[in-house]
């Protein structure tokens, strides 16, 4: 067995609480499919037959009842439940399932929607015998207006600085703006080995990682690392150039001391070795290939720990963790799969005007004289006469009475919109009722119980 797939579906969706306070993030509908269907579909298309899904009990229950998951996903899903209010980071979750992992691991996050050719990432992992291979893409600009956003766009989130070498494949440097107090400092040893480094800031990390088994063994021993993206990946990237990995004889190196103070208590060393090491060494020595030129060192500078990144130029790669991303992906999701835009069980009257880029879910009822453009209508939704829905996302079980006008809004499940309501750029929470003849613009309408949450 070459790779085991692990899907992390226990995330809370902390950046879009308006949507997730009732529906857990992995089950949010995107294009009428639950969000976690997309990474599962990616894995299935590529050829995986088994996936370990780490999620919460609530999601597991919803998964078994959801009509989409059962027939579409043919892989064997091994669901592991963890406590939802515990502070389990992604690395902690990996530690939890350490006993199930027998080979190298491919970790995917449940909010990833992409059409990447996965072999590009895995080939880097295989060909260079890498410890870590990940996927990144230049960030998309979000163009749709976000309901409930008042004023200008919020300031950009903390940026990530990613340093790659000339070929654009080897990861040399990774840090978040939050960790760099005085500025970006790069060690001289790295500059000596890789004099040309490209530092990029506009990349979005797809949270798709190929990790060697030794990394998981290391995680099992080092309980201080709790997040893959926040701690493990920067640690591995730094460790590439650490002297102790390359020369196991030298102890208490000055560099390493600094590392130790930064990372806290990372005791065990990451031992990257493989069977028949001398044979591999011999093959590498006899091979006339080098990954860099211009200095006197052998391929990979003699380092055994290597981290690679595949940066996509084209194609879709979204992480649905903010409202803007959610809205954008709803627009683009239908392009990822070829299902008819209108579900077969939907009942649509003939005098309805439906744009070609809209999706209607199962068992919908759309009455006469409605106009639906650039929208997604969820399952079991009822839309009465003379309703105009433009540029909106309507989730499951919603009832929209006559004469409503809904523009650029997100209506969550089981909401009821009264007659003649006019909603522009609003977000209507789960199960909310909008009174008839209401006119709301740019508002987030959620229940009082949600307002108490922080």
């Amino acid at each position: 067995m070459e790779l085991q797939a692990v899907l992390m579906a226990a995330g809370g969706g902390s950046r879009m609480t308006d949507l997730t306070y009732n529906t857990p993030k992995p089950m949010l509908p995107v294009g009428n499919k639950p969000l976690m269907w997309y990474p599962l579909n990616l894995l299935e298309r590529v050829g995986f037959e088994e996936v370990i899904v780490i999620t919460t009990k609530e999601v597991q229950k919803m998964m078994s009842t959801d009509p989409k998951m059962k027939p579409d996903v043919k892989m064997k899903l091994d669901v592991v439940c963890i406590q939802e209010d515990g502070d389990m980071g992604t690395a902690d979750a990996l530690r939890h399932i350490h006993s199930k992992i027998k080979t190298d691991v491919l970790v995917v996050s449940c909010d990833l929607i992409t059409d990447v050719a996965l072999h590009e990432v895995v080939d880097l992992f295989r060909a260079h015998n890498a410890t870590l291979a990940m996927l990144m893409r230049k960030a998309h600009e979000f163009t749709e207006t976000i309901p409930g956003q008042k004023g200008k766009k919020k300031t950009a989130e903390q940026r990530d600085f990613v340093g790659v070498d000339e070929s654009g494949e080897r990861l040399l440097f990774m840090a978040n703006e939050a960790d760099l107090e005085d500025g970006l400092s790069i060690r001289k040893s790295i500059m000596r080995k890789h004099p040309r480094m490209h530092i990029k800031t506009g990349l979005v990390d797809a949270h798709l990682y190929c990790l060697k088994k030794e990394v998981l063994d290391f995680l099992a021993d080092n309980k201080s690392i709790s997040s893959i993206r926040g701690e493990l990946v920067p640690y591995l990237v730094r460790k590439q150039f650490s002297k102790t990995i390359n020369c196991p004889n030298i102890k208490d190196d000055a560099d390493d001391q600094n590392l130790k103070t930064k990372d806290g208590s990372t005791n065990q060393e990451l031992l990257i070795s493989s069977r028949d090491e001398p044979l591999l060494q011999l093959a590498q020595e006899r091979s006339c290939w080098n990954d860099h030129r211009g200095d006197m060192s052998a391929a990979y500078h003699g380092g055994k720990l290597r981290c690679y990144v595949h940066i996509m130029d084209e194609g879709l790669c979204y992480r649905v963790n903010t409202l803007a991303a959610y809205i954008d992906t709803n627009r683009l999701a239908p392009k990822l799969f070829e299902e008819p835009a209108v579900h077969s069980t939907a009942v649509i009257s003939e005098r309805c005007q439906m744009g070609s880029d809209s999706i209607i879910g199962a068992m919908c009822q759309v009455a006469d004289k409605t106009s639906i453009k650039r929208s997604t209508i969820g399952n079991s939704t009822t839309i009465k006469e003379k309703v105009k829905v433009t540029n909106s996302i309507i989730m499951h079980g919603v009832t929209i009475e006559e004469g409503c006008n809904i523009q650029g809004s997100v209506i969550c499940s089981n909401a009821v919109i009264g007659r003649g309501a006019d909603l522009k750029h609003c977000l209507v929470g789960n199960g909310q009722r909008i009174e008839p003849e209401a006119e709301r613009t740019n508002e987030v309408i959620v229940g009082t119980d949600q307002l108490m949450e922080i």
Binding site: E2, L106, R126, A127, L279, A283, R286, C288, N290
Partner: protein, 524 residues
């Protein structure tokens, strides 16, 4: 006309087409003969396989000019193609069953094999036909390997079928091929074979997938490195192997290895050294006595592999270094080409033994392997000069010896090595500089080749494209219909240009290669 009757029936439709393609003139009798067996063939049409006609034997017309390098005849395939082969031995019998014909053919092949042992061997059947008895008219010529018949659609179909059976994806050729080399595969590095296999590869062992990727991306390059990496991957395969119930390890493991070898072949055509290593492993596996338990058998195989590498690569390098050091004297100026692991090893050893010499490294595009050789030598402290191959006649007056590495040594004494080697040997001969080729005996192969066209490897043509000052002139080379980019990998050097071959068996002239091969075969 019993003789010709046999051969007439033998010549398939394709044979005539081939002759026409080769532009050979058909004499009147030949035309008559061909017409006759065309009629006979039509009678047996129902019994014919599709591929049958391709597997035609020699044509009388090719007696005109048996090209030495490309035997134009194709021997019958191992899977006997029924019906096209001589059905009308004496009387035309259209309704012969497949089994009868198979048995007939087998009997004929046996008798021909017996006569081959007595008489001369290896002659193209065209010449043998005139003298030999009808039973020996089955061609004695070895069949062409499929990797040099890429322009023949039937061969491609056969290959596709075979790969499908083994569940290996077929790698598609890329780009416009130069017409002289259209019979060879040409792949693109940007379309790796892993695109078409599932990610957790279940059919192919992950170590083999990794190896194939490393071959196709050039991370493992050089015939020694490739063989060592191959044996390393096989060790992992053997370790992870479990004998299925009711199967014998000695037979099942060989069958398991076959798809892996096809996969590696698709990633990059196998080298001669790899081929010999595979032959050795297969032989060792088949020779495992059946009473061995699985663990014992596996550990025995692992030990065999270790021993093979030790003897043929590590110790051989030591032996060759020892002999070559005698040939290096103080004050020598040695010219090397490209990056040969063996030559680098020799030079480093000689430097350790305190010989005083300097090295000139000659390099060529697009691989520019000489840079790696330069790095390794300079790291040791050897003083080096670096030139491109276009300057070799400029630099040669300074040179006292030329050391070349080899990818394989062919049975007729030709040296197959990186493209450019024969050029260097030629120029060195012109300047009367001795040329020494260093090659381990496990790279000796029984193939015979006198030119670099017949069997070669075409690398990715996009490697030739270079971007200078932001402009890439050849970016859209595929749109120019009259332009073809050719990136050859190997060439053959005739033995007249090579003065000495240094092997682990000693220093031999180029013409002694078949002797060594014979001795090795006798040993086994």
């Amino acid at each position: 006309m019993a003789d010709s009757g046999v051969t007439d029936g033998a010549v398939g439709k394709d044979g005539i087409q081939q002759a026409k393609i080769e532009g050979k003139e058909l004499t009147k009798e030949e035309k008559q003969r061909l017409r006759k067996e065309k009629k006979q063939q039509k009678k047996n049409k129902e019994k014919n396989d599709e591929n049958a006609s391709k597997e035609s034997e020699e044509k009388p017309v090719s007696a005109a000019a048996p090209t030495p390098t490309q035997p134009s005849q194709k021997a019958p395939s191992a899977v006997p193609a029924p019906a096209s082969l001589p059905v009308p031995a004496s009387e035309p019998q259209p309704a012969k069953s497949k089994a009868d014909m198979k048995a007939e053919r087998r009997a004929r092949q046996e008798s021909e094999r017996a006569s081959k042992k007595k008489g001369d061997a290896g002659q193209p059947a065209a010449t043998g036909k005139a003298k030999a008895a009808p039973s020996e008219l089955q061609p004695v010529v070895k069949r062409l390997p499929e990797h040099v018949q890429v322009d023949n659609p039937e061969v491609l179909k056969k290959l596709a079928k075979k790969l499908e059976k083994q569940q290996i994806p077929l790698r598609l050729d890329y780009g416009h091929k130069v017409s002289l080399f259209s019979h060879l595969h040409q792949y693109s590095r940007r379309a790796p074979l892993t695109q078409q296999i599932g990610i957790p590869s279940t059919v192919i062992h992950p170590a083999i997938v990794r190896l194939g990727l490393q071959y196709s991306q050039g991370i493992v390059a050089g015939s020694n490195a490739r063989s060592v990496a191959l044996l390393h991957a096989f060790k992992q395969v053997i370790r992870d192997y479990t004998t299925p119930p009711n199967e014998e390890l000695s037979r099942d493991l060989v069958n398991k290895l076959k798809p892996y070898i096809s996969f590696l072949n698709q990633c990059r055509p196998l080298s001669a050294s790899m081929g010999n290593a595979i032959k050795y492993i297969k032989k060792e596996i088949s020779n495992i006595p059946s009473q061995y338990r699985e663990e014992e058998a596996k550990s025995k195989l692992l030990i065999c592999i270790e021993r093979y590498i030790d003897e043929n690569i590590i110790l051989a390098a030591k032996a060759i270094a020892k002999s070559s050091i005698e040939k290096i004297s103080d004050g020598d100026v040695i010219l090397v080409y490209g990056c040969s692991s063996l030559v680098n090893h020799i030079l480093c050893e000689a430097f350790e033994k305190k010989r005083k010499f300097r090295v000139i490294v000659v390099d060529s595009r697009p691989r520019l392997e000489g840079r790696e050789a330069l790095r390794r030598l300079v790291q040791r402290g050897i003083s080096c000069t670096y030139v491109l191959i276009s300057a070799v006649s400029y630099i040669l007056p300074e040179v006292s010896k030329v050391f070349l590495g080899a990818h394989a040594l062919l049975a007729n004494g030709y040296v197959m090595s990186r493209v450019g080697t024969s050029q260097i040997a030629l120029v060195a001969k012109a300047f009367n500089v001795p040329v020494l080729v260093c090659c381990e005996t496990y790279k000796f192969c029984e193939r015979v080749q006198t030119d670099s066209f017949v069997s070669n490897e075409l690398d990715d043509p996009d490697d030739l494209i270079v971007t200078r000052k932001g402009r890439t002139q050849l970016e859209h080379w595929q749109e120019v219909p009259s332009l073809g980019l050719l990136n050859l990998v190997y060439d053959v050097t005739p033995p007249d240009f090579v003065d000495l071959v240094i092997t682990d068996l000693g220093m031999i002239p180029c013409t002694s290669v078949p002797v060594v091969l014979r001795v090795k075969n006798m040993d086994q």
